[in-house]
């Protein structure tokens, strides 16, 4: 079976145990959900054509989503709280491909909104997930980072087979992101995180070229 599908199957199960529901959404996203609603500054470099696939005509303001975080904005807007969601899905970045870079890859984003949510919950949920996904010995650590949609923002490293790997980013959902969705940030708090699905499974199975995932090649698929 395709290793990415298998990963999504495991993601559903492990996050399901923690009360997270699967969320899905379109791969063509509006500028609003992909950037604006996530507090990405109007002139932020991520919006450049060098980084994002914009669709023609540009006046439609549509992109191939650059992250499944766009779904966080969509779910917040539904205003059904508390909510726990996990979004596995394909995303796109306008970058040259090589063994470690693909213009298309899979990401999982997660969110948890409730009255009392903290970074400790983020640590708890991700520790649980990676222990089940990669093995009990896994360790996790936070480092300071910056994302427009979270404050504080942290880089999340996973220790696997004695190596620290930079796999995810996350943090507490920025009040401006709540406000953009029409939600009162004084009333609700939440965490959000996101990261590649491809990378951890490359490490898990020892796959040396990310492009193999999207080549349709059974010499990969039939092994796993």
């Amino acid at each position: 079976m395709h290793p990415i599908s298998r990963a999504i199957l495991e993601i559903r199960e492990i996050f399901g145990e923690m009360g997270f529901e699967i969320g899905i959404g379109p791969e063509i996203e509006s500028e609003w959900y992909n950037f604006d609603a996530l507090n990405v500054a109007k002139d932020h470099p991520a919006r450049d054509m060098q980084d994002t696939f914009w669709l023609k005509p540009i006046s439609d303001k549509k992109v191939l989503r650059t992250h499944t975080t766009a779904l966080t904005a969509r779910v917040l807007e539904e205003k059904k709280f508390p909510v726990r969601k996990i979004f596995p899905g394909k995303v796109f970045r306008n970058e040259a491909t090589d063994a470690t870079h693909e213009a298309q890859f899979f990401q999982m984003d997660g969110m948890y909104v409730d009255k009392d949510v903290s970074l400790a919950h983020l640590k708890g949920v991700l520790t649980h997930f990676y222990k089940k996904f990669l093995g009990e010995k896994v360790e996790i650590r936070f480092r300071p980072s910056y994302f427009s949609f979270t404050e504080p923002s942290v880089e999340i490293d996973i220790k696997y087979k004695n190596r620290w790997l930079e796999i995810l980013g996350g943090g507490m959902i920025h009040p401006k992101v709540f406000e953009a969705a029409g939600v009162d940030p004084k009333q609700w708090k939440g965490f959000a995180f996101g990261g590649s699905i491809d990378r951890p499974i490359m490490i898990k199975y020892g796959i040396d070229d990310i492009r193999l995932f999207y080549s349709g090649d059974l010499r990969l698929v039939n092994q796993l």
Binding site: G19, D43, Y112, L119, L122, G124, E151, H174, Q223
Partner: protein, 629 residues
């Protein structure tokens, strides 16, 4: 940003911990250190300053203050120098673009002596990879790396009339300090005089009013530019400099005056003549600085970070270390944000500051409380997985192919390649290639048929859908019937109604509409067998050679023994071998075996395969009295 350990040390009386230790502390309390390099008695850190902190941390002083906070050690006291201003003509400044140039501080200094910078200053600049030029240029550069505040000096005698900040006119040309001719299109912001452009505002100085060894009088500039404008112009002109990097982010307006005073101080130390005259500071400003106060409570910060042990003392201690002054009002702390900390605007920012100083490693891992209700499953997700489950049971393997295609309805503005100009309108084109490639590789799988499927998004004008493609290549007679068969299984088992035409071994269905007619499930009943292997073995990208050997052997010969012999004799290049035929004729037993040769390092030649086969034949004849057919 390149940061010198010795330069940081100059901010402290106390000896700093060794560079390696400091580097770790940066990583966990400030930002990632991308490199640590020893260089001539110094150590240079390459710190990846986060964009929100650029306003204060793209500077040695900013990093030194971080060191003070992280290690809780005091910094030496600093005082902004002041000067006795002479009665000389003041710098003349005219701003035509008030939106793009929000502040300009200038100062004229007369009777300087341009020469080599003092040793200590050259050393510091060179340590971080900058070239020392002369004591004036170096002084402005030094202040940029020390305060994060880019500065510029003009040779006052080469400037005709006042300094004017204006938009360039079409056809104007700037020759930059590194002798590049930049043609202006109109719209770029320049600093000019009566004769024309002097430099690209905020990005790069120009040759015409360059300070050189003969310069006697200068005008210093510390201006603030619109960050968006700087980023765009620096991109379109292809000129990105240490100055533009800093201007791309907002800078506190208050730094301009301080920058001018500090540069003046350096010049007074290194370029003074007995007749030195320091003119007055001229300030043209369209931005107003209003101090910010943020109200926080220790308890709320603790709850937000998930630090149950946090106390008011801990929060106050972190604020003190970070030089974030505050006033206490009962439980509330009113933080007065320093001017250069443009990144701190809301209570959550204070929480982050406290969090990283207390240490994120102190945050425990806590699972949220259990959820009692049954989880909902998106209908689309559920049924896609039921389809996967069914097709896998039917012996099909899932593949994924590119979402880009050569033709389509949804065009990409800046595609990666000519054949990737569209978001795919169907799965078919990439999927057909995958089917063909896998069919060619069928011998590697010891298979005489290839059965694959893909589920993925497709893109039509104004509409996005989900498609399922199923492909089959195998013995001729089975082809079409296999696709119809599996389609029948799918329709019967799932209740899906699938519309699609079989063509060239592939059938593709749009399934989103079909799924929307099916029911929802809250019960996850998808069963998939565990992975065949825990480890992926890299495969060869070189072509393989398949060889068959058919032979008669005495009755009762064990084909397993023959296969073992073949595997032994064929050598390492034989990556796969198996029996594919057997029959009896006139009391003789016939077997046929297939052997696949492939190298991980090169394309094999026929001769190499032949040589291996010769060894196989010889051994089979000898060991089994085989008659090779």
């Amino acid at each position: 940003m390149k940061v010198s350990y010795n330069w940081l040390q100059s901010y402290f009386e106390k000896k700093l911990p060794p560079p390696e230790e400091l580097s770790d502390r940066f990583t966990f309390s400030l930002a990632e250190v991308e490199g640590v390099e020893k260089r001539e008695g110094d150590t240079i850190f390459d710190i990846n300053i986060l964009p929100d902190r650029a306003c204060y941390a793209l500077s040695h002083r900013g990093i030194a203050r971080e060191v003070g906070a992280i290690l809780d050690i005091p910094l030496k006291e600093e005082k902004i120098p002041t000067f006795k201003e002479a009665e000389i003509p003041a710098a003349e400044i005219k701003i035509e673009e008030k939106e793009l140039c929000t502040k300009f501080v200038g100062r004229r200094i007369e009777n300087i002596n341009v020469q080599k910078s003092p040793e200590w200053l050259c050393k510091r600049l060179e340590a971080i990879g900058q070239r020392a030029i002369n004591n004036i240029v170096d002084a402005t550069n030094y202040i940029m790396f020390d305060l994060g505040r880019p500065m510029h000096a003009f040779d006052a005698d080469k400037v005709k009339g006042p300094l004017v900040v204006r938009s360039a006119k079409k056809g104007e040309v700037v020759v930059t300090l590194d002798n590049k001719r930049v043609k202006l299109n109109s719209g770029e912001l320049i600093i000019a005089d009566e004769e024309g452009p002097l430099g690209l505002a905020g990005i790069k100085g120009g040759k015409r009013a360059e300070v050189d060894i003969n310069t006697k009088n200068i005008i210093l500039e510390a201006a603030n530019w619109n960050p968006t404008y700087i980023r765009r112009t620096s991109m379109s002109s292809g000129i990105r400099t240490e100055a533009s990097k800093r201007f791309e982010n907002r800078l506190s307006p208050l730094l301009a005056e301080e920058g001018i005073e500090r540069v003046t101080e350096l010049i007074e130390e290194s370029a003074a003549t007995p007749q030195l005259k320091i003119g007055r500071q001229v300030v043209v400003s369209f931005e107003k600085f209003s101090p910010k106060t943020i109200e926080v409570e220790a308890e709320a910060i603790g709850k937000y970070l998930g630090l149950p042990l946090i106390t008011e003392e801990l929060v106050e201690d972190a604020l003190r270390r970070l030089q974030l002054p505050y006033k206490k009002e009962k439980k509330k702390l009113r933080v007065e944000v320093p001017a250069e900390r443009l990144d701190v605007t809301i209570p959550e920012d204070i929480a982050e500051e406290v969090g990283r100083i207390v240490g994120y490693d102190k945050i425990p891992a806590t699972l949220p409380s259990k959820v009692q209700e049954k989880l909902s499953i998106p209908r689309q997700f559920y049924w896609e997985w039921k389809i996967r489950e069914l097709l896998i049971k039917e012996g099909f393997s899932e593949v994924m192919t590119s979402s880009f295609s050569e033709k389509g309805e949804v065009a990409i503005e800046k595609p990666l390649a000519e054949d990737k100009k569209f978001a795919r309108p169907t799965l078919r084109s990439s999927f057909a290639k995958a089917l063909k490639m896998n069919a060619l590789n069928a011998p590697l799988f010891q298979a005489d048929e290839i059965k694959i499927f893909e589920i993925g998004k497709i893109f039509m004008k104004d509409k996005e859908g989900t498609a399922l493609a199923i492909g089959y290549i195998g013995p001729k007679k089975k082809g079409a019937s296999e696709l119809s068969r599996v389609r029948g299984v799918l329709e019967n088992e799932s209740g899906l109604s699938l519309k699609g035409e079989e063509k060239e071994g592939i059938v593709e269905f749009e399934i989103e509409a079909a799924i929307s007619k099916l029911g929802e499930s809250t019960n996850w009943d998808v069963e998939i067998a565990p992975a065949a292997s825990e480890k992926y073995v890299p495969f060869s990208h070189y072509p393989f050679i398949a060889r068959d050997v058919a032979l008669f052997v005495p009755k009762g010969t064990d084909p397993e023994e023959i296969l073992k012999c073949i595997q032994k004799e064929a050598g390492e290049l034989a990556v796969k071998s198996w029996k594919f035929d057997e029959f009896e004729k006139e009391g003789k037993q016939s077997f046929a075996f297939r052997i696949i040769f492939q190298s991980l390092e090169k394309t094999l030649t026929d001769a190499e395969a032949n040589a291996a086969m010769e060894k196989v034949y010889a051994a089979l004849k000898k060991e089994f009295s085989a008659e090779i057919r």
